[in-house]
């Protein structure tokens, strides 16, 4: 038997075989292996709780797959609150006919990423839907983390004078996924930047009182995220076109397709908004981390134009950067 059948989702014997034979082995821990309906955990203090669903297509792309994405996405959301991610749930909705071999690859990816992030998957669910119902596989993860005392991160906390820092190059994930789709005429040597950033965040939280907010610029890109932050905090933001780190291959792929890297999705990036007096120090710490080698200050928060994000162009003129509208489509015009 090499494909998922509807019966695998029915809750009966086949379901148990699937879980025991194909899933549990990758993510087992003492809580999960109790096989109770709920995971029972004890936590003290302020907690962060988040959920995310993953419907990426294709499921496998250069630099990652839906499994890695599912762990990183939730871990990073928790990290933006300054929380240490601890426990995740994992729900799979699998399409009938899905190759078991692919499921194993994805579970392996989930395991490796979970180990890297230092989290445990303590509860889960598996459903199987009819052919055509789930584009192969959909995943939902929810996560809990503990927020250390004296941590107060929020989009509302950005204030004029703060520096805007990013931990690396923009647009890698979106371009990698686009490249992995059917168009065989393009060869784009770009890997997704998909990565768990909780360790990076922990390393800079030593300067926690100077860090006002963290946000990961996923769908909609940097532009959308900064607009959200500007809106939440009632401040304006200025970024500098020549300071934005973009890989050459991403730049040229975007040029060819008529895309703008500031709107392209990232899955291993964190916007750090920090008080100016410690920005350089924070930058240095970020650069010493494997997921922050190309960190850069890309702009600052201002009191002017509240709610707006402005970009200073290469020529020194200003232009407004709005949120992403509609889909990103390759254009010829």
């Amino acid at each position: 038997m090499d494909k998922i059948l509807l019966a695998h989702g029915s809750g009966g014997r086949l379901s148990h075989e699937l879980i025991k034979g194909y899933l549990l082995g990758y993510i087992s821990n003492e809580i999960l292996c109790k096989m109770d309906d709920s995971a029972v955990i004890s936590l003290a203090g302020k907690m962060a709780f988040t959920t995310d669903s993953f419907v990426v297509k294709p499921l496998f792309f250069p630099g990652g797959d839906i499994g890695r994405l599912a762990i990183c996405g939730t871990v990073n959301d928790l990290a933006t609150s300054g929380a240490r991610p601890l426990y995740l749930s994992l729900a799979l909705i699998i399409e009938e006919g899905f190759p078991l071999e692919d499921l194993q690859k994805i579970m392996e990816s989930i395991r490796n990423t979970a180990v890297e992030a230092g989290i445990k998957i303590v509860t889960g669910d598996t459903k199987v839907v009819n052919h055509g119902g789930a584009d192969g596989l959909f995943i939902n993860t929810s996560g809990i983390g503990v927020i250390p005392d004296n941590t107060n991160l929020s989009g509302a906390n950005a204030r004029p004078g703060d520096k805007i820092i990013i931990n690396g190059t923009l647009g890698d994930h979106g371009v990698a996924v686009m490249a992995a789709r059917e168009n065989l005429r393009f060869q784009i040597p770009v890997q997704s930047d998909c990565a768990p950033l909780n360790a990076l965040v922990e390393s800079i939280m030593e300067y926690g009182e100077y860090i006002h907010c963290l946000r990961d610029p996923t769908r909609g890109g940097l532009a959308t995220t900064l607009n959200e932050l500007a809106g939440q905090s009632g401040t304006g933001m200025v970024i500098y076109e020549d300071a934005l780190p973009v890989k050459d291959a991403v730049r040229s792929a975007c040029d060819m397709l008529g895309l703008d890297p500031v709107y392209v999705a990232n899955e291993g990036k964190m916007v750090v908004i920090a008080a100016p007096e410690k920005a350089d120090l924070i930058l240095e710490v970020m650069r010493s981390h494997k997921y922050g080698r190309e960190s850069a200050v890309i702009g600052e928060v201002t009191a002017k134009n509240p709610g707006r994000v402005i970009m200073k162009t290469l020529l020194g003129a200003s232009r407004i950067i709005d949120m992403l509208s509609g889909e990103l489509l390759p254009r010829i015009c």
Binding site: F186, D242, L257, T313, L314, A317, R319, G326, L329, C333
Partner: protein
């Protein structure tokens, strides 16, 4: 060239423009690509206030007639048809629907970057008919022409083209004849000109006394194009100058013109906001009617009303700017576009919305 030097050269060019420019002048950037580049680079802010840049109708999506959009949407609904389109067209509203909505209903509509990919799809799907929607000016028409010839050579029988291609010089003439707007100079489309060369614009300085500069799209290219126009205007010697010399030859690309003329013939075309312009559209020639979606599917041009309050027509003719439109930013925005100028990434309204709103 390093960014540092680019900045210095730009600064010098701008100062030179300030130095020689003495009077109020209107320059039109004909092409949507220029509209976007100018707004993205913030060029208006850098120029003297008396040098006005107006956006023209060179956005092929914006000027596609609603009736033509309706035809394509209808075509996309046929079971055995795969509609291949450039991304720009997907969200343009027709009278009732859009290709995006048609796709959501389950019709096979694919965004392609090139007619080459539409040919690939045709080869891979012998049981279906693939219709390549040909929009674009003289930059794109030769590529679609080449794809038809390739299909013919390879015996690909399920590849069709629906030509909505339009020509640049005839619509420029129609615009100038309408007398709607007083122009002193035109920033001519750099990439269209790689194909058609400089000669087709000569009637503009000769008959209308308007300066022309064929311009590229990098910041320095655009500034140099504007500099050339100001120089021509100030010295009273309008002509057609090529600023984009590294890409544009005076005679154009003869091979591209040859292929274009082999496959297409010139006819009338309906330009949204402008109306019917004779000799401004391309249709497939008789001998290629087997590849002509209009023939095979009997698509006839239809008339359709503009949405109420939409000023796209006047904006395309540079009579009004997006800021004059009562719907701009209120009822009409990139999420819920009313007219094509907002849908297309290169429409004036979209560019104004996304990149900045200042007019000067």
């Amino acid at each position: 060239m390093m960014i540092g030097e680019e900045r210095i050269l730009a600064k010098n060019l701008i100062q030179e423009i300030f130095r020689i420019s003495s009077k109020e002048i209107n320059l039109m950037e004909f092409c949507g690509g220029h509209t976007v580049a100018i707004l993205k680079q913030g060029i208006r802010q850098l120029l003297p206030g008396h040098v006005h840049l107006l956006s023209g109708p060179g956005c092929p999506v914006c000027v596609t007639a609603t009736g033509d959009i309706d035809n394509i949407i209808q075509l996309s609904g046929y079971r055995d048809v795969i509609t291949a389109t450039f991304g720009d067209l997907i969200r343009v509203p027709g009278s009732k629907s859009s290709l995006q909505k048609s796709r959501a209903e389950g019709n096979d509509i694919r965004v392609v970057y090139s007619a080459l990919e539409a040919l690939d799809i045709a080869r891979q799907n012998p049981g279906k008919r693939v219709v390549m929607v040909g929009i674009g000016f003289e930059t794109t028409a030769p590529t679609v022409a080449a794809s038809v010839l390739q299909a013919e050579r390879e015996g690909i029988k399920n590849y069709l083209v629906h030509s909505l291609h339009k020509l640049t010089p005839p619509v420029m003439k129609a615009l100038l004849d309408s007398g709607d707007v007083k122009l002193d100079g035109i920033i001519c489309p750099g990439h269209v000109s790689t194909v058609i060369g400089a000669r087709p614009y000569e009637f503009i300085p000769q008959n209308y006394g308007i300066a022309c500069a064929i311009t590229g799209f990098e910041p320095l290219d655009i500034l140099e194009g504007i500099h050339m126009l100001v120089r021509q205007i100030e010295s009273g010697t309008p002509t057609v100058e090529i600023a984009y010399r590294r890409a544009v030859r005076p005679e154009g690309n003869l091979k591209a013109l040859d292929l274009m003329n082999k496959v297409f013939t010139v006819g009338s075309a309906w330009w949204r906001g402008i109306g019917e312009v004779p000799g401004s559209g391309l249709k497939l020639r008789e001998e290629y009617r087997a590849f002509d979606a209009a023939t095979v599917f009997q698509l006839t041009p239809q008339d359709a009303a503009e949405p109420a309050g939409c000023l796209c027509g006047e904006i395309l003719r540079a009579v009004k700017t997006p800021l004059d439109c009562p719907l701009f930013r209120k009822k009409c925005n990139p999420e819920q576009p009313v007219g094509p100028c907002m849908v297309s990434a290169e429409g004036a309204c979209s560019a104004y919305y996304l990149y900045g709103e200042s007019d000067g």
